[in-house]
Point group: C2
Chain length 282, copies 2
Amino acid sequence: MMAANLRNCAINTATLGFQCPIAQSIDAIAAAGFGGIAPWRREVEGQNVPAIAKRIREAGLKVTGYCRSTYLPSLTREGLQANIESNRRALEDAAILGAQSFVMVVGGLPAGSKDIAAARAQVAEGVGLLLEHGKRLGVRIALEPLHPVYTAERSCLTLLSEALDMCHHIEGSVSEPSLGVCVDVYHVWWDPNLARDIARAGREKRIAGFHVCDWLVPTNDVLNDRGMMGDGVIDIPSIRAQVEKAGYKGLIEVEIFSAQNWWKRPVIEILQVCAERLATSV
Amino acid sequence: MMAANLRNCAINTATLGFQCPIAQSIDAIAAAGFGGIAPWRREVEGQNVPAIAKRIREAGLKVTGYCRSTYLPSLTREGLQANIESNRRALEDAAILGAQSFVMVVGGLPAGSKDIAAARAQVAEGVGLLLEHGKRLGVRIALEPLHPVYTAERSCLTLLSEALDMCHHIEGSVSEPSLGVCVDVYHVWWDPNLARDIARAGREKRIAGFHVCDWLVPTNDVLNDRGMMGDGVIDIPSIRAQVEKAGYKGLIEVEIFSAQNWWKRPVIEILQVCAERLATSV
Protein backbone atom coordinates (compact mmCIF):
# COMPACT_ATOMS: atom_id res chain seq x y z
CA MET A 1 0.00 0.00 0.00
CA MET A 2 1.32 3.41 -0.94
CA ALA A 3 1.50 5.81 1.97
CA ALA A 4 -0.17 9.20 1.69
CA ASN A 5 2.05 12.26 1.85
CA LEU A 6 0.75 13.25 5.24
CA ARG A 7 2.66 16.52 5.17
CA ASN A 8 0.08 17.53 2.57
CA CYS A 9 -2.77 16.53 4.83
CA ALA A 10 -4.38 18.23 7.80
CA ILE A 11 -6.63 17.12 10.62
CA ASN A 12 -9.61 19.19 11.59
CA THR A 13 -9.75 18.76 15.38
CA ALA A 14 -13.49 18.03 15.27
CA THR A 15 -12.42 14.69 13.79
CA LEU A 16 -10.95 13.81 17.19
CA GLY A 17 -14.21 14.54 18.99
CA PHE A 18 -12.69 17.20 21.26
CA GLN A 19 -11.54 14.44 23.56
CA CYS A 20 -8.42 16.27 24.71
CA PRO A 21 -7.20 19.85 25.11
CA ILE A 22 -5.86 21.57 22.01
CA ALA A 23 -2.24 21.23 23.17
CA GLN A 24 -2.51 17.44 23.19
CA SER A 25 -4.28 17.42 19.84
CA ILE A 26 -1.49 19.50 18.32
CA ASP A 27 1.14 17.11 19.59
CA ALA A 28 -0.75 13.98 18.53
CA ILE A 29 -1.45 15.32 15.03
CA ALA A 30 2.18 16.34 14.55
CA ALA A 31 3.48 13.06 15.96
CA ALA A 32 1.32 11.12 13.52
CA GLY A 33 3.05 12.92 10.68
CA PHE A 34 0.37 15.28 9.45
CA GLY A 35 1.28 18.67 8.05
CA GLY A 36 -1.63 20.75 9.26
CA ILE A 37 -4.35 21.32 11.79
CA ALA A 38 -7.70 23.11 11.75
CA PRO A 39 -8.66 24.11 15.30
CA TRP A 40 -12.06 25.24 16.56
CA ARG A 41 -12.93 28.38 18.48
CA ARG A 42 -14.23 26.33 21.41
CA GLU A 43 -10.67 25.08 21.92
CA VAL A 44 -9.03 28.46 21.45
CA GLU A 45 -11.20 31.30 22.77
CA GLY A 46 -10.48 32.24 26.36
CA GLN A 47 -7.10 30.53 26.13
CA ASN A 48 -3.68 32.06 25.56
CA VAL A 49 -4.03 32.29 21.80
CA PRO A 50 -0.42 33.36 21.04
CA ALA A 51 0.80 30.39 23.09
CA ILE A 52 -1.41 28.03 21.09
CA ALA A 53 -0.13 29.58 17.87
CA LYS A 54 3.45 29.09 19.02
CA ARG A 55 2.83 25.47 19.94
CA ILE A 56 1.32 24.79 16.53
CA ARG A 57 4.25 26.44 14.75
CA GLU A 58 6.82 24.62 16.85
CA ALA A 59 5.09 21.34 16.11
CA GLY A 60 5.67 22.10 12.44
CA LEU A 61 1.99 22.34 11.58
CA LYS A 62 0.24 24.73 9.27
CA VAL A 63 -3.19 26.01 10.24
CA THR A 64 -5.42 25.29 7.25
CA GLY A 65 -8.54 26.88 8.60
CA TYR A 66 -9.90 28.33 11.81
CA CYS A 67 -13.40 26.98 12.54
CA ARG A 68 -15.76 28.64 12.39
CA SER A 69 -17.91 31.74 12.06
CA THR A 70 -20.79 32.74 14.27
CA TYR A 71 -23.96 32.40 12.17
CA LEU A 72 -24.83 35.77 10.67
CA PRO A 73 -28.60 36.01 10.07
CA SER A 74 -30.73 37.52 12.79
CA LEU A 75 -34.27 38.83 13.12
CA THR A 76 -32.85 42.22 14.15
CA ARG A 77 -30.19 44.66 12.95
CA GLU A 78 -28.68 44.56 16.43
CA GLY A 79 -28.46 40.80 16.25
CA LEU A 80 -26.75 40.93 12.87
CA GLN A 81 -24.29 43.52 14.16
CA ALA A 82 -23.51 41.38 17.20
CA ASN A 83 -22.91 38.36 14.99
CA ILE A 84 -20.58 40.33 12.75
CA GLU A 85 -18.73 41.64 15.79
CA SER A 86 -18.27 38.12 17.13
CA ASN A 87 -16.74 37.12 13.81
CA ARG A 88 -14.43 40.15 13.85
CA ARG A 89 -12.93 38.91 17.11
CA ALA A 90 -12.60 35.40 15.72
CA LEU A 91 -10.82 36.80 12.65
CA GLU A 92 -8.29 38.39 14.97
CA ASP A 93 -7.62 35.05 16.61
CA ALA A 94 -7.33 33.50 13.14
CA ALA A 95 -4.64 36.05 12.36
CA ILE A 96 -2.73 35.24 15.56
CA LEU A 97 -2.96 31.53 14.75
CA GLY A 98 -1.61 32.19 11.27
CA ALA A 99 -4.63 30.46 9.78
CA GLN A 100 -4.70 30.22 6.00
CA SER A 101 -8.37 31.02 6.20
CA PHE A 102 -11.24 31.73 8.52
CA VAL A 103 -13.95 29.23 7.72
CA MET A 104 -17.42 30.68 7.48
CA VAL A 105 -20.51 28.58 7.93
CA VAL A 106 -22.89 31.44 7.35
CA GLY A 107 -26.01 30.39 9.26
CA GLY A 108 -29.54 29.46 8.29
CA LEU A 109 -32.91 30.98 9.08
CA PRO A 110 -33.13 32.90 12.33
CA ALA A 111 -35.61 31.26 14.72
CA GLY A 112 -39.10 32.29 13.71
CA SER A 113 -38.21 33.35 10.17
CA LYS A 114 -39.21 31.80 6.87
CA ASP A 115 -37.51 34.53 4.85
CA ILE A 116 -34.50 32.84 3.26
CA ALA A 117 -33.94 35.78 0.88
CA ALA A 118 -33.53 38.08 3.89
CA ALA A 119 -31.08 35.65 5.51
CA ARG A 120 -29.03 35.51 2.32
CA ALA A 121 -28.97 39.30 2.09
CA GLN A 122 -27.70 39.54 5.67
CA VAL A 123 -25.02 36.98 4.90
CA ALA A 124 -23.81 38.98 1.90
CA GLU A 125 -23.74 42.16 3.97
CA GLY A 126 -21.90 40.55 6.88
CA VAL A 127 -19.34 38.77 4.72
CA GLY A 128 -18.63 42.04 2.92
CA LEU A 129 -17.80 43.79 6.19
CA LEU A 130 -15.76 40.87 7.50
CA LEU A 131 -13.81 40.65 4.26
CA GLU A 132 -12.50 44.18 4.80
CA HIS A 133 -11.46 43.27 8.35
CA GLY A 134 -9.86 40.05 7.14
CA LYS A 135 -7.86 41.91 4.50
CA ARG A 136 -6.40 44.24 7.10
CA LEU A 137 -5.47 41.23 9.22
CA GLY A 138 -4.15 39.24 6.30
CA VAL A 139 -6.65 36.43 6.82
CA ARG A 140 -8.51 34.98 3.89
CA ILE A 141 -12.19 34.18 4.38
CA ALA A 142 -13.41 30.81 3.13
CA LEU A 143 -17.15 30.45 2.65
CA GLU A 144 -18.21 26.85 3.14
CA PRO A 145 -21.40 25.98 1.29
CA LEU A 146 -23.12 23.26 3.29
CA HIS A 147 -25.27 20.37 2.13
CA PRO A 148 -28.84 21.57 1.56
CA VAL A 149 -30.04 19.42 4.46
CA TYR A 150 -28.59 22.14 6.73
CA THR A 151 -30.31 25.10 5.07
CA ALA A 152 -32.76 25.84 7.87
CA GLU A 153 -30.42 25.55 10.82
CA ARG A 154 -26.85 26.09 9.66
CA SER A 155 -26.35 27.51 6.20
CA CYS A 156 -28.61 29.25 3.75
CA LEU A 157 -25.58 29.03 1.44
CA THR A 158 -25.68 25.59 -0.14
CA LEU A 159 -24.55 25.33 -3.74
CA LEU A 160 -20.91 25.77 -4.69
CA SER A 161 -22.11 27.95 -7.56
CA GLU A 162 -24.00 30.11 -5.08
CA ALA A 163 -20.88 30.54 -2.93
CA LEU A 164 -18.86 31.52 -6.00
CA ASP A 165 -21.57 33.96 -7.06
CA MET A 166 -21.42 35.50 -3.60
CA CYS A 167 -17.62 35.79 -3.76
CA HIS A 168 -17.88 37.57 -7.07
CA HIS A 169 -20.72 39.80 -5.92
CA ILE A 170 -18.73 40.92 -2.88
CA GLU A 171 -15.16 41.02 -4.10
CA GLY A 172 -15.50 41.24 -7.85
CA SER A 173 -12.92 39.73 -10.14
CA VAL A 174 -9.46 40.12 -8.60
CA SER A 175 -6.11 38.52 -9.28
CA GLU A 176 -5.43 37.62 -5.64
CA PRO A 177 -8.80 36.95 -4.00
CA SER A 178 -9.17 37.32 -0.23
CA LEU A 179 -12.53 35.62 -0.38
CA GLY A 180 -12.77 31.98 -1.31
CA VAL A 181 -14.67 28.76 -0.74
CA CYS A 182 -14.11 25.49 1.08
CA VAL A 183 -14.96 22.45 -0.96
CA ASP A 184 -16.09 19.71 1.42
CA VAL A 185 -16.95 16.48 -0.35
CA TYR A 186 -19.74 15.78 2.13
CA HIS A 187 -21.55 18.94 1.15
CA VAL A 188 -21.05 18.93 -2.61
CA TRP A 189 -20.71 15.34 -3.83
CA TRP A 190 -24.34 15.06 -4.94
CA ASP A 191 -24.36 18.28 -7.02
CA PRO A 192 -24.96 17.63 -10.74
CA ASN A 193 -22.97 20.79 -11.52
CA LEU A 194 -20.00 19.84 -9.36
CA ALA A 195 -17.41 19.40 -12.12
CA ARG A 196 -18.46 22.66 -13.76
CA ASP A 197 -18.32 24.57 -10.50
CA ILE A 198 -15.01 23.18 -9.26
CA ALA A 199 -13.45 24.17 -12.58
CA ARG A 200 -14.95 27.63 -12.21
CA ALA A 201 -13.68 27.90 -8.62
CA GLY A 202 -10.22 27.12 -9.91
CA ARG A 203 -10.36 29.68 -12.71
CA GLU A 204 -11.52 32.29 -10.23
CA LYS A 205 -8.81 31.28 -7.71
CA ARG A 206 -11.37 30.73 -5.01
CA ILE A 207 -10.53 27.28 -3.68
CA ALA A 208 -9.37 28.02 -0.14
CA GLY A 209 -9.81 24.58 1.36
CA PHE A 210 -10.58 20.97 0.54
CA HIS A 211 -12.24 18.77 3.17
CA VAL A 212 -12.79 15.03 3.06
CA CYS A 213 -14.94 12.51 4.89
CA ASP A 214 -17.62 10.18 3.47
CA TRP A 215 -21.40 9.85 3.16
CA LEU A 216 -22.56 6.69 4.89
CA VAL A 217 -25.49 4.57 3.71
CA PRO A 218 -27.56 4.63 5.76
CA THR A 219 -26.81 7.90 7.52
CA ASN A 220 -28.32 7.79 10.99
CA ASP A 221 -27.79 11.47 11.81
CA VAL A 222 -26.99 13.98 9.09
CA LEU A 223 -24.96 16.10 11.48
CA ASN A 224 -22.88 13.62 13.45
CA ASP A 225 -22.86 10.38 11.47
CA ARG A 226 -20.32 11.20 8.81
CA GLY A 227 -18.03 8.47 7.61
CA MET A 228 -14.32 7.80 7.39
CA MET A 229 -13.08 8.09 3.82
CA GLY A 230 -13.77 4.83 2.03
CA ASP A 231 -16.69 3.79 4.22
CA GLY A 232 -19.34 5.61 2.19
CA VAL A 233 -20.51 6.32 -1.32
CA ILE A 234 -18.57 9.44 -2.30
CA ASP A 235 -16.11 9.01 -5.16
CA ILE A 236 -13.50 11.06 -3.29
CA PRO A 237 -10.57 10.40 -5.66
CA SER A 238 -12.61 11.82 -8.52
CA ILE A 239 -13.45 15.01 -6.64
CA ARG A 240 -9.85 15.34 -5.42
CA ALA A 241 -8.62 15.04 -9.00
CA GLN A 242 -11.01 17.78 -10.11
CA VAL A 243 -9.92 20.07 -7.27
CA GLU A 244 -6.25 19.54 -8.05
CA LYS A 245 -6.81 19.93 -11.77
CA ALA A 246 -8.46 23.24 -10.92
CA GLY A 247 -5.15 24.34 -9.41
CA TYR A 248 -5.65 23.72 -5.70
CA LYS A 249 -2.27 23.15 -4.08
CA GLY A 250 -3.28 23.38 -0.43
CA LEU A 251 -3.61 20.67 2.16
CA ILE A 252 -6.31 18.00 2.20
CA GLU A 253 -8.17 18.35 5.47
CA VAL A 254 -9.95 15.48 7.20
CA GLU A 255 -13.11 16.61 8.98
CA ILE A 256 -15.35 13.89 10.36
CA PHE A 257 -18.28 14.38 12.72
CA SER A 258 -19.00 10.94 14.10
CA ALA A 259 -20.52 10.92 17.57
CA GLN A 260 -21.35 7.21 17.67
CA ASN A 261 -18.26 5.76 16.03
CA TRP A 262 -14.97 7.58 15.54
CA TRP A 263 -15.31 10.02 18.41
CA LYS A 264 -15.56 7.05 20.76
CA ARG A 265 -12.13 5.75 19.71
CA PRO A 266 -8.73 6.79 21.06
CA VAL A 267 -7.20 9.81 19.33
CA ILE A 268 -4.19 7.83 18.21
CA GLU A 269 -6.40 5.22 16.52
CA ILE A 270 -8.46 7.87 14.73
CA LEU A 271 -5.30 9.50 13.40
CA GLN A 272 -3.88 6.18 12.26
CA VAL A 273 -7.01 5.25 10.31
CA CYS A 274 -7.15 8.74 8.78
CA ALA A 275 -3.58 8.27 7.56
CA GLU A 276 -4.39 4.86 6.08
CA ARG A 277 -7.52 6.04 4.34
CA LEU A 278 -5.84 9.15 2.94
CA ALA A 279 -3.59 6.67 1.14
CA THR A 280 -6.24 4.22 -0.02
CA SER A 281 -9.48 6.14 -0.41
CA VAL A 282 -8.66 9.76 -1.24
CA MET B 1 -60.86 32.09 8.42
CA MET B 2 -61.23 31.68 4.68
CA ALA B 3 -61.76 28.08 3.61
CA ALA B 4 -59.51 26.56 0.99
CA ASN B 5 -61.11 25.47 -2.26
CA LEU B 6 -60.66 21.79 -1.47
CA ARG B 7 -61.88 20.77 -4.90
CA ASN B 8 -58.54 22.16 -6.09
CA CYS B 9 -56.63 20.10 -3.53
CA ALA B 10 -55.61 16.46 -3.46
CA ILE B 11 -54.48 14.07 -0.76
CA ASN B 12 -51.55 11.78 -1.37
CA THR B 13 -52.52 8.64 0.50
CA ALA B 14 -49.09 8.41 2.12
CA THR B 15 -50.29 11.36 4.20
CA LEU B 16 -52.76 9.01 5.88
CA GLY B 17 -50.04 6.54 6.83
CA PHE B 18 -51.62 3.64 4.97
CA GLN B 19 -53.86 3.02 7.96
CA CYS B 20 -56.77 1.76 5.93
CA PRO B 21 -57.41 0.02 2.58
CA ILE B 22 -57.54 2.23 -0.49
CA ALA B 23 -61.34 1.99 -0.72
CA GLN B 24 -61.76 3.60 2.69
CA SER B 25 -59.16 6.24 1.88
CA ILE B 26 -61.04 7.14 -1.29
CA ASP B 27 -64.30 7.53 0.58
CA ALA B 28 -62.75 9.53 3.45
CA ILE B 29 -60.91 11.90 1.11
CA ALA B 30 -64.02 12.50 -0.97
CA ALA B 31 -66.23 12.92 2.11
CA ALA B 32 -63.81 15.55 3.45
CA GLY B 33 -64.38 17.56 0.30
CA PHE B 34 -61.09 17.13 -1.52
CA GLY B 35 -60.99 17.02 -5.30
CA GLY B 36 -58.19 14.55 -5.85
CA ILE B 37 -56.21 11.58 -4.62
CA ALA B 38 -52.72 10.25 -5.29
CA PRO B 39 -52.61 6.52 -4.53
CA TRP B 40 -49.55 4.33 -4.12
CA ARG B 41 -48.70 1.12 -5.89
CA ARG B 42 -48.62 -0.78 -2.60
CA GLU B 43 -52.35 -0.08 -2.29
CA VAL B 44 -53.19 -0.88 -5.89
CA GLU B 45 -51.00 -3.65 -7.30
CA GLY B 46 -52.48 -7.11 -6.93
CA GLN B 47 -55.94 -5.56 -6.45
CA ASN B 48 -58.75 -5.15 -8.96
CA VAL B 49 -57.37 -2.00 -10.53
CA PRO B 50 -60.39 -1.18 -12.74
CA ALA B 51 -62.60 -1.45 -9.66
CA ILE B 52 -60.39 0.97 -7.75
CA ALA B 53 -60.44 3.34 -10.71
CA LYS B 54 -64.23 3.15 -10.82
CA ARG B 55 -64.55 3.84 -7.10
CA ILE B 56 -62.28 6.88 -7.41
CA ARG B 57 -64.29 8.21 -10.35
CA GLU B 58 -67.60 7.62 -8.65
CA ALA B 59 -66.33 9.42 -5.56
CA GLY B 60 -65.74 12.41 -7.82
CA LEU B 61 -61.99 12.43 -7.33
CA LYS B 62 -59.26 13.11 -9.86
CA VAL B 63 -56.05 11.08 -9.66
CA THR B 64 -53.26 13.66 -9.58
CA GLY B 65 -50.41 11.21 -9.59
CA TYR B 66 -49.75 7.51 -9.27
CA CYS B 67 -46.89 6.87 -6.83
CA ARG B 68 -44.31 5.87 -7.73
CA SER B 69 -41.64 4.41 -9.99
CA THR B 70 -39.35 1.51 -9.23
CA TYR B 71 -35.86 2.95 -8.86
CA LEU B 72 -34.03 2.63 -12.18
CA PRO B 73 -30.25 2.39 -11.57
CA SER B 74 -28.71 -1.04 -11.28
CA LEU B 75 -25.23 -2.53 -11.34
CA THR B 76 -26.26 -4.66 -14.31
CA ARG B 77 -28.03 -4.21 -17.66
CA GLU B 78 -30.42 -6.97 -16.65
CA GLY B 79 -31.25 -5.12 -13.46
CA LEU B 80 -31.91 -1.91 -15.35
CA GLN B 81 -34.16 -3.75 -17.81
CA ALA B 82 -36.10 -5.36 -14.96
CA ASN B 83 -36.58 -1.97 -13.31
CA ILE B 84 -37.82 -0.47 -16.56
CA GLU B 85 -40.18 -3.40 -17.04
CA SER B 86 -41.59 -2.95 -13.54
CA ASN B 87 -42.30 0.67 -14.36
CA ARG B 88 -43.98 -0.27 -17.64
CA ARG B 89 -46.49 -2.34 -15.71
CA ALA B 90 -47.05 0.49 -13.24
CA LEU B 91 -47.64 2.87 -16.14
CA GLU B 92 -50.38 0.56 -17.34
CA ASP B 93 -52.05 0.73 -13.95
CA ALA B 94 -51.66 4.51 -14.00
CA ALA B 95 -53.54 4.54 -17.30
CA ILE B 96 -56.36 2.42 -15.86
CA LEU B 97 -56.56 4.73 -12.84
CA GLY B 98 -56.76 7.73 -15.17
CA ALA B 99 -53.81 9.29 -13.36
CA GLN B 100 -52.76 12.71 -14.60
CA SER B 101 -49.19 11.54 -14.23
CA PHE B 102 -47.00 8.67 -13.17
CA VAL B 103 -44.64 10.02 -10.53
CA MET B 104 -41.04 8.97 -10.96
CA VAL B 105 -38.59 8.97 -8.08
CA VAL B 106 -35.69 7.79 -10.15
CA GLY B 107 -33.44 6.04 -7.64
CA GLY B 108 -29.99 6.69 -6.23
CA LEU B 109 -26.76 4.74 -6.35
CA PRO B 110 -27.12 0.98 -6.72
CA ALA B 111 -25.71 -0.81 -3.67
CA GLY B 112 -21.96 -0.99 -4.02
CA SER B 113 -21.65 1.80 -6.57
CA LYS B 114 -20.06 5.23 -6.20
CA ASP B 115 -20.66 6.10 -9.85
CA ILE B 116 -23.34 8.76 -9.81
CA ALA B 117 -22.73 9.65 -13.45
CA ALA B 118 -23.54 6.06 -14.44
CA ALA B 119 -26.71 6.14 -12.33
CA ARG B 120 -27.80 9.36 -14.02
CA ALA B 121 -27.15 7.90 -17.46
CA GLN B 122 -29.29 4.86 -16.63
CA VAL B 123 -32.05 7.14 -15.42
CA ALA B 124 -32.03 9.10 -18.66
CA GLU B 125 -32.11 5.89 -20.68
CA GLY B 126 -34.92 4.37 -18.64
CA VAL B 127 -37.06 7.51 -18.62
CA GLY B 128 -36.66 7.77 -22.38
CA LEU B 129 -38.03 4.27 -22.88
CA LEU B 130 -40.84 4.76 -20.39
CA LEU B 131 -41.84 8.04 -21.97
CA GLU B 132 -42.62 6.22 -25.22
CA HIS B 133 -44.73 3.69 -23.34
CA GLY B 134 -46.46 6.46 -21.41
CA LYS B 135 -47.33 8.31 -24.61
CA ARG B 136 -48.97 5.23 -26.07
CA LEU B 137 -50.98 4.86 -22.84
CA GLY B 138 -51.77 8.55 -22.60
CA VAL B 139 -50.06 8.90 -19.23
CA ARG B 140 -47.73 11.80 -18.58
CA ILE B 141 -44.53 11.08 -16.67
CA ALA B 142 -43.62 13.45 -13.85
CA LEU B 143 -40.01 13.37 -12.70
CA GLU B 144 -39.76 14.34 -9.06
CA PRO B 145 -36.38 15.80 -8.12
CA LEU B 146 -35.79 14.96 -4.47
CA HIS B 147 -33.94 16.89 -1.80
CA PRO B 148 -30.19 16.22 -2.09
CA VAL B 149 -30.22 14.40 1.25
CA TYR B 150 -31.75 11.46 -0.66
CA THR B 151 -29.15 11.32 -3.43
CA ALA B 152 -27.48 8.10 -2.34
CA GLU B 153 -30.53 6.02 -1.58
CA ARG B 154 -33.51 7.44 -3.49
CA SER B 155 -32.78 9.95 -6.22
CA CYS B 156 -29.67 10.94 -8.09
CA LEU B 157 -31.94 13.60 -9.62
CA THR B 158 -32.02 16.49 -7.16
CA LEU B 159 -32.14 19.97 -8.64
CA LEU B 160 -35.25 21.25 -10.39
CA SER B 161 -32.94 22.61 -13.09
CA GLU B 162 -31.47 19.13 -13.51
CA ALA B 163 -34.93 17.60 -13.91
CA LEU B 164 -35.83 20.23 -16.51
CA ASP B 165 -32.57 19.60 -18.34
CA MET B 166 -33.39 15.90 -18.40
CA CYS B 167 -36.89 16.57 -19.75
CA HIS B 168 -35.42 18.68 -22.53
CA HIS B 169 -32.68 16.17 -23.27
CA ILE B 170 -35.19 13.34 -23.62
CA GLU B 171 -38.21 15.00 -25.17
CA GLY B 172 -36.84 18.15 -26.72
CA SER B 173 -38.90 21.29 -26.99
CA VAL B 174 -42.51 20.35 -27.71
CA SER B 175 -45.77 22.23 -27.46
CA GLU B 176 -47.57 19.54 -25.44
CA PRO B 177 -44.96 17.81 -23.30
CA SER B 178 -45.57 14.28 -22.07
CA LEU B 179 -42.64 14.56 -19.68
CA GLY B 180 -42.81 16.95 -16.77
CA VAL B 181 -41.71 17.53 -13.19
CA CYS B 182 -43.30 17.47 -9.78
CA VAL B 183 -42.48 20.47 -7.66
CA ASP B 184 -42.55 19.40 -4.02
CA VAL B 185 -41.82 22.24 -1.62
CA TYR B 186 -39.97 19.87 0.74
CA HIS B 187 -37.45 19.03 -1.94
CA VAL B 188 -36.88 22.42 -3.52
CA TRP B 189 -37.50 25.15 -0.92
CA TRP B 190 -33.79 25.61 -0.13
CA ASP B 191 -32.65 26.01 -3.76
CA PRO B 192 -31.18 29.46 -4.46
CA ASN B 193 -32.29 29.09 -8.09
CA LEU B 194 -35.86 28.12 -7.24
CA ALA B 195 -37.62 31.20 -8.62
CA ARG B 196 -35.62 31.04 -11.84
CA ASP B 197 -36.32 27.34 -12.30
CA ILE B 198 -40.04 27.44 -11.49
CA ALA B 199 -40.42 30.20 -14.08
CA ARG B 200 -38.50 28.07 -16.58
CA ALA B 201 -40.63 25.02 -15.77
CA GLY B 202 -43.70 27.12 -16.52
CA ARG B 203 -42.35 28.42 -19.82
CA GLU B 204 -41.47 24.89 -20.85
CA LYS B 205 -44.91 23.59 -19.72
CA ARG B 206 -43.32 21.00 -17.48
CA ILE B 207 -45.09 21.50 -14.16
CA ALA B 208 -47.04 18.27 -13.79
CA GLY B 209 -47.63 18.38 -10.05
CA PHE B 210 -47.30 20.56 -6.97
CA HIS B 211 -46.83 18.93 -3.56
CA VAL B 212 -46.94 20.58 -0.18
CA CYS B 213 -45.82 19.71 3.36
CA ASP B 214 -43.32 21.53 5.58
CA TRP B 215 -39.71 21.30 6.80
CA LEU B 216 -39.62 20.96 10.56
CA VAL B 217 -36.90 22.42 12.77
CA PRO B 218 -35.50 20.25 14.08
CA THR B 219 -36.12 17.38 11.68
CA ASN B 220 -35.66 14.12 13.55
CA ASP B 221 -35.75 11.87 10.49
CA VAL B 222 -35.33 13.29 7.01
CA LEU B 223 -37.55 10.60 5.51
CA ASN B 224 -40.49 10.32 7.87
CA ASP B 225 -40.51 13.49 9.96
CA ARG B 226 -42.05 15.91 7.50
CA GLY B 227 -44.34 18.57 8.82
CA MET B 228 -47.92 19.72 8.29
CA MET B 229 -48.07 22.94 6.30
CA GLY B 230 -47.49 25.84 8.68
CA ASP B 231 -45.51 23.87 11.25
CA GLY B 232 -42.12 24.38 9.59
CA VAL B 233 -39.93 26.96 7.93
CA ILE B 234 -40.96 26.78 4.27
CA ASP B 235 -42.58 29.90 2.85
CA ILE B 236 -45.20 27.81 1.07
CA PRO B 237 -47.44 30.70 -0.08
CA SER B 238 -44.46 32.23 -1.87
CA ILE B 239 -43.65 29.01 -3.72
CA ARG B 240 -47.33 28.42 -4.52
CA ALA B 241 -47.56 31.92 -5.98
CA GLN B 242 -44.52 31.25 -8.15
CA VAL B 243 -45.93 27.94 -9.38
CA GLU B 244 -49.29 29.50 -10.22
CA LYS B 245 -47.66 32.52 -11.84
CA ALA B 246 -45.77 30.01 -13.98
CA GLY B 247 -49.11 28.78 -15.27
CA TYR B 248 -49.78 25.71 -13.15
CA LYS B 249 -53.50 25.11 -12.96
CA GLY B 250 -53.52 21.63 -11.49
CA LEU B 251 -54.38 20.47 -8.00
CA ILE B 252 -52.31 21.16 -4.89
CA GLU B 253 -51.40 17.80 -3.41
CA VAL B 254 -50.67 17.24 0.27
CA GLU B 255 -47.98 14.62 0.82
CA ILE B 256 -46.70 14.23 4.38
CA PHE B 257 -44.49 11.42 5.65
CA SER B 258 -44.79 11.61 9.41
CA ALA B 259 -44.32 8.31 11.20
CA GLN B 260 -44.20 9.69 14.73
CA ASN B 261 -46.92 12.31 14.52
CA TRP B 262 -49.58 12.52 11.83
CA TRP B 263 -49.63 8.86 10.88
CA LYS B 264 -50.57 8.06 14.47
CA ARG B 265 -53.74 10.15 14.27
CA PRO B 266 -57.14 9.10 12.94
CA VAL B 267 -57.58 9.55 9.19
CA ILE B 268 -60.48 11.93 9.69
CA GLU B 269 -58.39 14.19 11.93
CA ILE B 270 -55.47 14.24 9.46
CA LEU B 271 -57.83 15.24 6.64
CA GLN B 272 -59.45 17.95 8.74
CA VAL B 273 -56.11 19.53 9.67
CA CYS B 274 -54.92 19.31 6.05
CA ALA B 275 -58.05 21.20 5.01
CA GLU B 276 -57.48 23.87 7.65
CA ARG B 277 -53.84 24.34 6.79
CA LEU B 278 -54.51 24.49 3.06
CA ALA B 279 -56.57 27.57 3.92
CA THR B 280 -54.17 29.21 6.37
CA SER B 281 -50.67 28.15 5.39
CA VAL B 282 -50.58 27.41 1.68
